[in-house]
């Protein structure tokens, strides 16, 4: 398989505001979000970053998509450095953030055109891509309906279509099924599996075990910004349920830090 994503020794520290220190009940002025995170991913696979809240998943994905810079380390997307060659990386990557809320007053049609224009796609490529994605997600019928009037599921589908207008090689989804009903969630997971079969590399972050079991070929378990376990789904599970295995890994890492659970 062709290696397409190479994450090397990412470190990221945030300085905490007084308010955050109070919320997180800590005296430390800094928060280590990523602590030397490395992994690789290949074309034609779904890689899952599994971790609890605050593990550093979103931070990692933001670095991959050039939104923030690591303090140390680098990530290479199709050979381009996320630190030094942002423009190249942005052409190769499609990023869907977990908190995306599309603006109410636009139609899917307009938003799609807007983002394809930003990606510098010509009229022809845009029309073809739109037909493909709108058809696949059933957005056709709602193409001229304002986002405000769409269902949550339809909004999420439009968000996905927009994130991948430019047919990127690497698709990065932060919590792709959060807040979706089972039917919409299935559309999304089916879509991701299809992208994988088309040879794309799909990176998802989640804390939902069932999602990982359903779609991921390989999993990286991330706790406190470190990869504590990695491998194919079966390797990570080691014959147990993913959930049991995860809690075992989790309590081990807590004990290693000398904390009670």
């Amino acid at each position: 398989m062709q290696e397409i994503l190479d994450v090397r020794g990412l470190k990221k520290t945030f300085s905490l505001s007084a308010k955050q220190r109070r919320i997180e009940r800590t005296d430390s002025r800094v928060k280590v979000a990523l602590d030397g995170l490395s992994f690789k991913a290949y074309a034609g696979e779904v890689y899952g970053l599994l971790g609890p809240n605050g593990a550093g998943k979103t931070t990692c994905l933001r670095i991959l998509s050039t939104l923030i810079k690591p303090d140390e380390g680098d990530a290479f997307v199709a050979g381009a450095s996320a630190v030094k060659e942002e423009a190249k990386v942005r052409e190769k990557i499609g990023f869907l953030t977990s908190e995306l809320k599309l603006e109410d007053f636009f139609t899917p049609n307009y938003l799609f055109d807007f983002f394809s224009e930003l990606h510098g796609m010509d009229e022809h490529a845009r029309a073809a891509r739109k037909a493909e994605l709108f058809g696949k997600f059933g957005i056709d019928r709602f193409a001229e309906v304002k986002v405000a009037d769409l269902s949550t599921g339809m909004k999420q589908k439009v968000s996905i279509a927009i994130a991948i207008v430019h047919d990127p090689d690497v698709i990065v989804f932060d919590e792709p099924t959060n807040g979706l009903d089972v039917i919409t969630a299935k559309t999304v997971t089916d879509f991701l599996l299809e992208q994988k079969s088309l040879g794309k590399c799909v990176i998802v972050s989640t804390h939902i075990f069932s999602l990982v079991e359903k779609i991921c070929d390989r999993v990286g378990v991330i706790i406190d910004g470190k990869l504590v376990s990695e491998g194919t789904l079966d390797e990570v599970r080691g014959g147990r349920s993913l959930e049991d295995k995860f809690f075992e890994i989790y309590s081990e890492s807590r004990r290693a830090k000398g904390e009670e659970i």
């Binding site: 505001s17 939104l67 990023f95 809320k101 007053f105 307009y110 930003l118 968000s159």
Partner: protein, 386 residues
């Protein structure tokens, strides 16, 4: 600046697709200003109309030669000598405004002066404004009578047919405009910008659409420029709506006083347009920078409010100053230069160099702020602040 144009278009469309926005920021302000100012004008005239009440006077021994003159001004009640005490009581209790007592044989003693000067007594109540003004009116009336008796010369005698008030339409209008307009225009521009910029920048941050925008190949400078241009156009439109509202209600507000914007030349309007555009760009850029720093629309609005207060205070200053500053330095101070430049145009005290300096200064400040905004869009500390 890659990608500024799609961003610009989208920003405009966001505004024009939002019916509530259009009604709330484009149509309503102009309409409300028109209605409120028109009513205010009517109200003001009503107030003046109400003053036209005829003062009442009790008069003792009114000479018949003066009867006509008195009843033209007062509602006269003649009373006899025995009514004097109760008349004074009536003045005291504000039942009547004044009580005038002419000495016996008043008319004949003034027509054939002997040595004794007759004394007219006017009782009034200084605690009552109606009584005081009636008193003044009576004094004026009697003074006029006195001076007509020994006329040596006249001042501005209406019979001469001369027009002595040399103020013309231009002076009155320019005074009113230069007092009102700087403040009104600045506030309109500001509220226009304030109703769109936080939503467009802090709002996108809040909703996560900014992140989606930033992973596309669009440049940060393109986003900054596209947004500021579009927001400026919208703010100008909002300001224009209010401006039209004022212009339409002005005749009513001034209650028929001769006020007309015709006294300004095309050149004046061009100067005004230049000032307004450069000020709008600057104000939009300021609010955008503040909004980029804020985490939410609410936070942005809270941060912008102090700036709004500064603008209002600056605008008020020129209501109390006569004309605009003549030296060029004040025109380098942002916001203040806009206020004074508008003031200068309306009061006919504009100096071309000063206006040009003000506009160029504003454009330079805007460019600096766009640069700052671009840097902020690049900064993860600001864009992904917690």
């Amino acid at each position: 600046m890659k990608g500024w144009f799609p961003v610009f278009k989208k920003e405009l469309l966001r505004f024009f697709k939002d019916k509530r926005m259009i009604i709330g920021t484009l149509i309503l302000p102009g309409l409300l200003i028109y209605l409120v100012y028109s009513f205010m004008g009517d109200g003001m005239r009503g107030l003046i109309g109400g003053e036209e009440r005829t003062p009442t006077a009790y008069v003792q021994d009114l000479p018949e030669q003066l009867a006509e003159g008195f009843s033209a001004v007062f509602d006269v009640t003649e009373i006899g000598a025995d009514g004097a005490e109760s008349a004074k009581e009536a003045v005291k209790n504000a039942q009547t405004d004044i009580f005038v007592v002419f000495p016996e044989g008043f008319w004949s003693s003034i027509m054939n002066p002997t040595g004794d000067v007759p004394n007219v007594e006017i009782y009034f109540n200084a605690a009552e404004s109606n009584s005081s003004s009636a008193y003044s009116a009576a004094v004026a009336l009697l003074d006029a009578l006195e001076s007509s008796l020994s006329n040596r010369f006249d001042v501005n005698n209406p019979a001469s047919g001369g027009i002595y008030d040399l103020s013309d339409e231009r002076d009155v209008t320019s005074m009113i405009f230069s007092m009102l307009m700087p403040m009104l225009m600045m506030i309109f521009i500001f509220t226009g910008a304030m109703s769109v910029a936080p939503e467009s920048i802090a709002g996108e941050k809040e909703r996560g659409t900014f992140a989606t925008l930033l992973v596309t190949p669009v440049s940060r400078a393109g986003v900054a420029v596209g947004k500021i241009f579009a927001l400026s156009i919208i703010s100008v439109l909002c300001g224009l709506s209010s401006f039209i509202g004022i212009m339409l209600s002005l005749p009513k507000m001034m209650g028929g006083a001769d006020v007309s914007a015709n006294i300004y030349s095309v050149g004046d309007y061009f100067a005004l347009f230049g000032i307004v555009v450069s000020s709008v760009l600057l104000i939009v850029a300021m609010i955008s920078v503040i909004s980029a720093f804020a985490k939410s629309v609410k936070e942005a609005s809270a941060y912008v409010t102090p700036l709004m207060i500064v603008v209002v205070l600056l605008s008020v200053t020129c209501m109390f100053t006569d004309g605009a500053p003549a030296s060029v330095w004040p025109y380098l101070i942002p916001l203040y230069n806009s206020v004074q430049a508008i003031n200068a145009v309306f009061s006919f005290t504009a100096v071309a160099l000063n206006l040009a300096v003000g506009m160029i200064a504003n454009l330079v400040y805007t460019a600096l702020l766009v640069w700052l905004l671009t840097a902020m869009f690049r900064s993860e500390k600001i864009m992904f602040r917690r």
